[in-house]
Symmetry: C2
Subunit: 363 residues, 2 copies
């Protein structure tokens, strides 16, 4: 049997805290007999889990609230469940206590604390946030960055492509995932100056075998599944993500309104219920909850703040899959390949053929 | 009775040409007894309309194909239906022959030819493309730019806000439409450097009464209808638009698949048909076809290339409404107000208190 995968869970984070995170952890443990959990939070709030096997409660006296400014999370609440949970994946003289951390806490705070505690990998200027969206092929399209970096250079976009490819290979099991650069046309001459330059870098990276670059993609290609990975800056990625969420919400509202508008519509709703249910399950956003914070010296996953137990369990599973399949090493290998091939044109990285971090799972 | 509104129609443009544009023109004329049309194209292809009243065929010997490069449209095909149609709205020593032009031709070519022939208004650096998306309030959210300008300054975004406000006031009859700046968070400190600076300019413009600025909005606010107008650069706008199109297509595919998956599902589809039909009508993209090219010395509207007769008729109606309600004068007045109040901080515009163009409807 494989060595266990251990996750540290910020049980206090998100809109609902332990009332959601604990049931999710329970189900997750039942489904993953080789998983172990470090449940981080106020012990009083976690008593329900005190007797669980393959679990240990790690005390943290404070909680980062969803509307806490980054500064509070970073400098004031030094014993927050978020911070203590992240600390568990930090490698020091000894391997880290956990393989990956999961939190539903606020994104800005999580990224800031994770970056402060874990530091970025050599060869990475900025960590990025990657998540998945469903596509017509009944698979998932991975997309990054989704909001961590608003002003990006072409080099940053190349780094995103490299890290995202590592993520897809680890979590979705595709060794050479296809990569698209989000643009406003397929032709290489399209787009802003940064995007055109990024296109050149990605093409070169594709030719060197670092990534499997397929050229420009457009917004609709995300849902077509034209490429496994879509790369963009955090501003564009965040707008695309929230636009999609907004449209989905509107259409869902309209469908509900239409199926309750008249007595006939209500009857039709009863008849159509199993069909609508199947449709709903297929696009259920809880099935793809769990964004990866990539580029750090440790694995951190972010659940949606409003996640319910099923959604939070999905985030746990994604973190588990990433850790089980050596995401950290995969990112590191690809970045080192890029550095050695001098593909990353950032001169500051020229001599940074990095030492491997010491992840727990490499022991 | 009001003086007639006259539209020039590029009958050859789009994927389908006269087989779509002529039936759309016929229906449009029937619904608008005070409208007149200049039908531009190859006379042989327009014989069906030869005897229509309130119509005149204007001969053009060439056609800009959907995949023609901009250069071909601009420099080679000087007698194209697109170019001749645009020429009709150009004011010279005499008022223009038409109040607005409508084409389903390719966007890049249309913008380039329109800009070349008509020139930009004083105070406007770059024309922008504005269109509408449906929102949960059963209204429409107008958005610009949707792809004409990929690298924008804060000043450009201010100009978009001013022109977009004029558009909403003319077409949707809201005299002081609310304006949102598309960003990745509501707080003023969010976003890229350009967006933060644009936020300052838009706030100042709001305080001066030039626009009704409501602050930052996010992608999901487009479909909530949080503001009447959403302003963004052309890269972000195009990605948001195509992301929404892609998601809508995917969900529509999924619904069709679910309602044909099993014999029961097919039965349920029959029962639910009237409800699904009503839902479909509500989000029918043909109901909001017709993008405005704003900032030019003449009104030009762009229909989707793949528009059917109903969609093309919608574009004709939008152009008609804009011309009837003096969109050109409204844009001009607002831009002049901005110039006089020195709100547009582009120094090149400092002494450009512009002369009014001579639109046909002002005669």
């Amino acid at each position: 049997m494989q060595r266990p995968v251990r996750l540290s869970v910020d049980c206090m984070g998100g809109d609902h805290g332990p009332s959601i995170t604990l049931p999710a952890c329970r189900t997750f443990l039942d489904k993953h007999p080789d998983a172990e959990l470090l449940l981080v939070g106020k012990p009083d709030a976690l008593t329900a889990a005190a007797s669980w096997s393959r679990c240990r409660i790690v005390a943290a006296s404070e909680v980062v609230e969803m509307d806490d400014p980054i500064d509070i999370a970073l400098r004031k609440k030094r014993d927050s469940s978020m911070r203590v949970a992240i600390q568990q994946v930090k490698a020091g003289d000894t391997p880290p206590a956990a393989d990956a951390c999961v939190s539903a806490g606020n994104t800005g705070a999580l990224m800031a604390v994770a970056r402060y505690l874990l530091k970025t990998l050599d060869g990475i200027d900025r960590p990025a946030i990657a998540s998945v969206m469903p596509n017509t092929r009944d698979g998932f399209t991975t997309m990054l960055d989704l909001g961590a970096n608003v002003d990006c250079t072409a080099e940053h976009l190349l780094q995103f492509a490299v890290m995202g490819s590592a993520l897809v290979s680890a979590v979705d099991g595709k060794e050479t995932p296809t990569v698209g650069l989000l643009n406003i046309g397929e032709e290489a001459i399209k787009g802003s100056e940064v995007i055109k330059r990024a296109g050149e870098l990605l093409r070169a990276a594709g030719e060197s075998g670092l990534i499997n670059f397929r050229g420009n993609v457009e917004g609709n290609d995300i849902f077509k599944g034209t490429t496994d990975l879509v790369v963009c800056d955090g501003f564009v990625g965040n707008v695309a993500l929230k636009t999609a969420e907004g449209l989905a919400t509107m259409l869902s509202t309209f469908i509900k309104q239409e199926f309750t508008r008249t007595p006939y519509a209500k009857l039709a709703a009863l008849v159509a219920l199993p069909v609508l249910k199947h449709f709903k399950d297929r696009v259920d956003h809880r099935r793809y909850n769990g964004a990866a914070l990539l580029g750090l010296r440790g694995l951190v996953f972010k659940s949606h703040g409003s996640a319910d137990a099923l959604a939070f369990e999905t985030a746990l599973t994604r973190a588990y899959d990433a850790a089980r399949n050596g995401l950290l090493e995969r990112v590191h290998e690809r970045i080192n390949f890029a550095l050695q091939a001098s593909l990353n044109t950032n001169p500051a990285n020229a001599n940074r053929a990095a030492e491997a971090p010491a992840p727990r799972q490499a022991a």
